[in-house]
Amino acid sequence: MAIATACTEHPENAMKLTSEPPIYPDYKGVTIPAGIAPMNFNIDGAEIVDVSVKGSIVGEMHANGEWADFDIEEWHNITEQNKGGDLVFRVSAKNDGKWVEYADFKMHVSNDPLDDYGLTYRKLAPGYEVFSDIGNYQRDIHTFDEEAILASTAVPGQCMSCHTANRTNPRQLTVHLRGKHAATLVQIDGKRTWLTTKTDSTICNCMYPYWHPSGNYCAYSLNKVHQSFYVGNKRFIEVFDDASDATILDVRTNELILSPLLQTKDCETYPTFSADGKTIYYCTSKAHRVPAECEKMRYDLCTIDFDAESGRVGNTVDTILKVSDKGHSITFPRPSYDGKYLMYCLSDFGYFPIDHKESDLWLMDLRSGETRAIDEVNSEDTESFHNWSSNSHWFVFSSRREDGQYSLLYIANIDSEGNIGKPFVMPQRNPREYYRASLHSYNVPDFTLTKVELDARAAYEEVFSDERIQVGIKKQ
């Protein structure tokens, strides 16, 4: 009864403040897509929050309660009606029995649509070696609905990487499972194939996939991964490779395409295809003694041609961005699907920037070759694991800006002119309750065009059956 009374209380004799409200999460000035889930927020210490939202073009709505909890339908309407405009928020809060009214703040509603179904990501504790409660999830970005795609409840005791769809389309996806029942799953149009990707000619199983736009190939890196732990108080963990190569799987024949240029004595990793599928971007570093010299492992960005018709890798490697000599390392190259940009992480060393506080997102304009730090989205803490929406106007990335350990997901807009808006953390119904109580980190996020369909129970049977197809080799 007390709650019901409280929630219908409206501001009276509010004292006007000149400062903007201290809302959580910080949604002030962010750029959002129309149709996104309501950008609910909390105000610490407030007993009641009263919010009036006015569209700069048309419409208004209102929320009142313990936190700003907007009605989904009304929210969708007002964002649709104000595409290209702003939403102006007038927030009043009752603290210690007294009402205050803050200065208005705005959110910008982009003209760029975000019509993808939602996001996929892996949720796990931000731990070190053992992950008990781990799973791949999908979230309808237009509502608050989240569901497991493949979680440890269904596949107990299995460490799994996040699934990778082909340019956000889950019609084609691949997942790598580590551990006792290791396998690489390739699912095309609902047909699952479980592969053993370690061969006599390769150093280990396939990891870190990226689909060719044709859907006939998937590039993987082969990483002999190790990790060490810091004793000091600035860093926690360092992930490094004893050795690594890159390869391409022909999913029609289950053969790995090996090229000596992608299997050198140096370390090659994170191969990705360009938007037109004619180029492979990948990162490469001189090999060093690890872990003693892991700080010398610095990766540059290289390209090599790929002919999808013949399935042949080119004969020349181009280093398109050399940063190792400047004390930096490039990882996670992700070309936009419209062919305009390439986004990557820049850190001081290594190939696993998630645990590098200095890791920032950078953007290369593939038309001009210019590259720049994305200051609009970077923070003092780690930014990594970025991916593009299907129309390449939005990107998602993980950041540890919240507390330095738990990665959360942020979404940002890039318009036709290349202007990048202020990012916003993935909306939740009650963000403070959700994020502050959550013991999960989010990583490997990606947009998904449609809902991912994976029969987790059938997958479970198949994982533990250990029935695998051994991939073949296609050397060139």
């Binding site: 053992v130 440890s152 732990f229 004793v231 108080n233 330095g404 109580a437």
Partner: protein, 604 residues
């Protein structure tokens, strides 16, 4: 007196059993309670409840976790379990009575509870199963109140799905009971066979529906989620427990019926006395067998090695250093986890370098245990790393042990440690996250409230007698942890802060354990940097020094280092005996048995 005992013998037996169970947990296995408590965290919030209401058996699990949280008080834990076991016995008896069991077979009603006590030696059998069993037995009693078939069918149709949702696999006790009861009452006829088959099919259908509604595998839904700590294992003990609670009441009823028939037949033969004697003999045998089980068999379910480690874990958690040493004095411990705990306790009592060779030593892993993908050893090792000032390593070990809890539970003890490491590291946002969770618990709320006052307050932490010191001890330069370079890491710790006595003692002990006398002699002078460190070296150091001296071919009496005459004389004696006969028993006895030389020469 005899009359009173005769009148109240059942109550007295139950009371004795209850007291026995209390003593069992409180005196014999209190560390099992501590272990159970530290592997769960009952949170007072709606989300926690909703999560448990969301799967079959979750209600029982919720009640069990609610009860387990009170195990932080060992007395409360033992009382709770004593009461639970008495309730189980009483319910078993009431169900048996309904099956026609005679008062003379009262001792049989203890059998399932005693078997459960034995089975709980498997520490992974969780209280959820026990609570669910209580619920199922209670439902059995309710069933006997229903008289007409129509109401029985209605009760089963409505009640069984609810029971399965509340008590999961324990519902099989009720299904089994109904089948046995109906066959007993009506005999094996078409009606009872149809009822039995129908009931089993209905039960299977309920499981399938629950399976469809949950993300879990079929066998897990069928066997009870969170009734066993390892979610991918269906425990045989769990099946046996369900079976024994199902059949015992029926057996009691059957024996009574059988005996009564025998009695009738005996009285027909005018041998009343003979019949009565036979019954008395059976009762006595029952009582003796159960008493023997209680006294001897139950403990065989409790693996000594496993429970020894649990005891060390509890003593470590409670900082009972003297009790750790006392335990080690009584029984030699050899696993790295135990040895490191003993060495740690010695260090905390300031006796490590004096007494360490009185106990089994193997190598430096007995000082700083290496990381293993295993819950208890990692959890225990975190205490050592934390206290010595390797805060990040302690955090890593704590985090790994948290993630190693097989049923994805959280732990108040570990979360508390994570608050501490994050506070010391100045990661206040993360510490706050854990504090907010701990504030929603019964056992850790007060502590969390207190720690909340330290958030974002560097000055206050710096002034804290322990956290402030730990903040000063931790190294601020990053370097990678290496199992092979433990001495270097300890050296860096001490060089970072010369007040860190434990780091220096561990460094020197580490060199002794790795038999690296050269480095020991090189680092020993560092003790002069330590304020208040005794000028007379501890025994093991003296023994190492004098050995280092004579090993250079020099005479004992010329030794310039502070080695007592007593140690010198023993060194000389040891040398003489060793030269004469390396295998002499004398080297394994008396002073020599606990000397560093013994370790140096004989420990492989």
């Amino acid at each position: 007196m005899k009359n009173i005992v005769g009148k109240y013998w059942q109550s007295l037996l139950t009371l004795t059993f209850g007291i026995g169970v209390f003593i069992f947990w409180y005196i014999l296995y209190p560390y099992a309670l501590s272990f159970q408590e530290e592997l769960q965290l009952f949170i007072y919030d709606s989300q926690y409840l909703i999560e448990r209401l969301g799967y079959s058996g979750g209600v029982s699990v919720y009640i069990a976790e609610f009860l387990t949280q009170f195990y932080t008080s060992l007395t409360a834990g033992a009382i709770i379990l004593a009461v639970i076991f008495v309730i189980l016995q009483q319910l078993t008896w009431k169900v048996a009575k309904n099956e026609g069991a005679d008062d003379r077979h009262y001792p049989l009603s203890f059998v399932p509870a005693v078997f459960l006590l034995y089975s709980m030696g498997d520490e992974n059998i969780l209280l959820g199963l026990v609570v669910a069993t209580i619920i199922a037995l209670s439902v059995n009693l309710l069933y006997t109140k229903i008289e007409t078939n129509r109401w029985k069918i209605a009760a089963i149709a409505i009640g069984l799905p609810i029971l399965f949702w509340i008590a999961s696999s324990a519902a099989y006790i009720t299904v089994g009971y109904i089948i046995i009861r109906e066959i007993r009452k009506n005999g094996i006829n078409k009606e009872s066979i149809l009822l039995s088959i129908g009931l089993i099919i209905y039960m299977i259908a309920i499981i399938i529906v629950c399976y469809r509604m949950s993300p879990y595998q079929f066998y897990r839904v069928a066997s009870g989620i969170n009734f066993y700590r390892y979610r991918h294992i269906v425990s045989k003990a769990e099946i046996a427990i369900l079976l024994i609670f199902t059949i015992t009441p029926a057996i009691a009823g059957f024996i009574t019926k059988w005996q009564n028939e025998k009695c009738v037949s005996a009285s027909k033969n005018n041998s009343k006395t003979k019949g009565n004697n036979w019954i008395t003999r059976t009762e006595t045998l029952e009582a003796i067998a159960i008493a023997l089980c209680c006294i001897f068999v139950v403990r065989t379910g409790y693996d000594e090695r496993k429970y020894d480690i649990m005891e060390y874990d509890m003593l470590l958690r409670r900082h009972s250093w003297d009790k750790i040493i006392e335990k080690a004095e009584k029984k030699q411990a050899t696993s790295p986890t135990e040895v490191s705990t003993i060495n740690f306790a010695l260090a905390m009592e300031g006796r490590l370098t004096d007494r360490m060779f009185e106990f089994y030593q193997k190598n430096s892993e007995g000082l700083m245990p290496l990381y293993k993908r295993e819950l208890t050893s990692t959890l225990m090792a975190n205490e050592i790393y934390f206290r010595i000032g390797m805060i990040n390593t302690a955090q890593r070990f704590a985090f790994e042990s948290l993630e190693s809890i097989p049923n994805h539970q959280k732990s108040g003890r570990i979360m508390r440690r994570l608050v501490e490491t994050n506070m010391i590291n100045g990661q206040y946002e993360v510490a706050e996250k854990y504090i907010k969770i701990l504030k929603k618990t019964f056992a850790y709320r007060r502590w969390a409230n207190e720690m909340e006052g330290y958030l974002y307050n560097d000055e206050k932490i710096d002034k804290h007698p322990f956290y402030g010191e730990m903040r000063r001890f931790r190294v601020t330069e990053d370097f990678l942890y290496s199992d092979n370079e433990m001495d270097q890491m300890l050296g860096l710790l001490f060089m970072h802060n010369n007040d860190n006595r434990m780091a220096l003692e561990y460094l020197l002990a580490c060199e002794l354990l790795t038999k690296d006398i050269g480095h020991f002699m090189e680092y020993y002078p560092l003790t002069s940097n330590l304020k208040g460190y005794p000028t007379v070296p501890p025994r093991s150091f003296q023994e190492a020094m004098i050995y280092a001296w004579i090993n250079q071919g020099k005479k004992i009496q010329d030794c310039p280092w502070p080695v007592s005459d007593f140690v010198k004389q023993n060194m000389a004696k040891f040398g003489q005996i060793y030269m004469a006969d390396k295998n002499s028993q004398q080297l394994q006895e008396g002073y020599f048995a606990t000397s560093y030389w013994n370790y140096l020469f004989f420990e492989r």
